[in-house]
């Protein structure tokens, strides 16, 4: 990927992105769906999936929650 492509990717904003508050409000529901079927989570909550793809801190929260659910901690 060249410099312009990297910049274009960085500047990409998805109009479906619901933002942090709405994503965090349903994070528990989303995490349970992901734990069973990631595709179902994206299908039911496309705006949350779009947000998690773009927001590193919220994605970290989901990763942490899934780790807690996995029983590995």
């Amino acid at each position: 990927m060249n410099a312009r492509e990297r910049l274009a990717r960085f500047l990409r904003t998805d109009p479906r992105d619901v933002g942090c508050d709405e994503a965090m409000a349903v994070l528990h529901v989303y995490a349970d769906l992901v734990a069973h079927d990631a595709g179902a989570a994206t299908e039911r909550y496309p705006g949350v999936a779009a947000h998690l793809a773009a927001c590193g801190p919220c994605r970290e929260d989901l990763t942490g929650l899934l780790a807690a659910l996995s029983g590995d901690v």
Binding site: N2, L7, L11, R12, T13, D14, A54, G56, E60, A68
Partner: protein, 212 residues
């Protein structure tokens, strides 16, 4: 407490334990706190290697205690949309995020005196061998920032994107929500992209959601 319709047995058992009238309520609280503490410790360790030793435990204890308070205060709002444990663990995960944001300022990196736009290509992962294009990229983005962003958008963009300040650290310092900071950077990205499409630097035919 009235049972939430359609609840799985484990979640129903947690709600029963957290009802103050339950004979084994105290044991239930201890059991939940033990789980929250274990998750908080693991989460601190997973997220950062900068915190070690007793500080991990201090931060984990604070996160578990605050999560416990939130769970007890809000347990009546649990609607059974997820397992109870998933709902409850979310509180401790979010507490760890918030506390790590505050902890960042105990040992912050040296402040940067200027905006250092030459860092931008590196922050975007541009190949160091693309010297000329990287320099040009930094120049056109800086021009778009100067021309299109408000002073607030510019300040947040520089701190988050150029200086790499974690969103939660910025929230802790400025007393704002993560959502507010994210929205500011989101709007800044959108405006910068529009400016770069308008001046021909970026291809306008690539729709936003298809450009990955």
């Amino acid at each position: 407490m009235e049972r939430v319709a359609g609840l799985d047995d484990e979640s129903a058992e947690w709600l029963r334990l957290l009802d103050p009238s339950a004979a084994d309520h105290r044991a239930g609280l201890d059991r939940l706190h033990e789980r929250l503490l274990r998750i908080a410790r693991a989460e601190v360790r997973r997220r950062t290697a900068r915190i070690v030793g007793p500080e991990v435990d201090d931060l984990a204890h604070q996160a578990a205690a605050d999560a416990m308070l939130a769970i007890l205060a809000k347990r009546d709002t649990f609607r059974g949309e997820s397992r109870f444990t998933t709902w409850a663990y979310r509180f401790v995960i979010l507490e760890v995020s918030s506390k790590l944001g505050r902890h960042f300022w105990r040992n912050p990196p040296a402040p940067l005196d200027d905006e250092q736009w030459e860092r931008l290509p590196d922050r975007l992962g541009v190949d160091p061998h693309e010297h000329a294009e990287a320099r040009h990229l930094a120049e056109v983005v800086r021009a778009a920032v100067d021309e299109t962003l408000t002073e607030h958008q510019r300040s947040v963009f520089v701190e988050v994107v150029l200086h790499g300040l974690p969103l939660d650290a910025l929230c802790a310092r400025d007393g704002v929500t993560r959502s507010a900071v994210y929205k500011t950077v989101f709007d800044a990205r959108r405006k910068i992209r529009a400016a770069l499409v308008a001046n021909g630097y970026l291809d306008p035919s690539v729709r936003q959601e298809e450009s990955s």
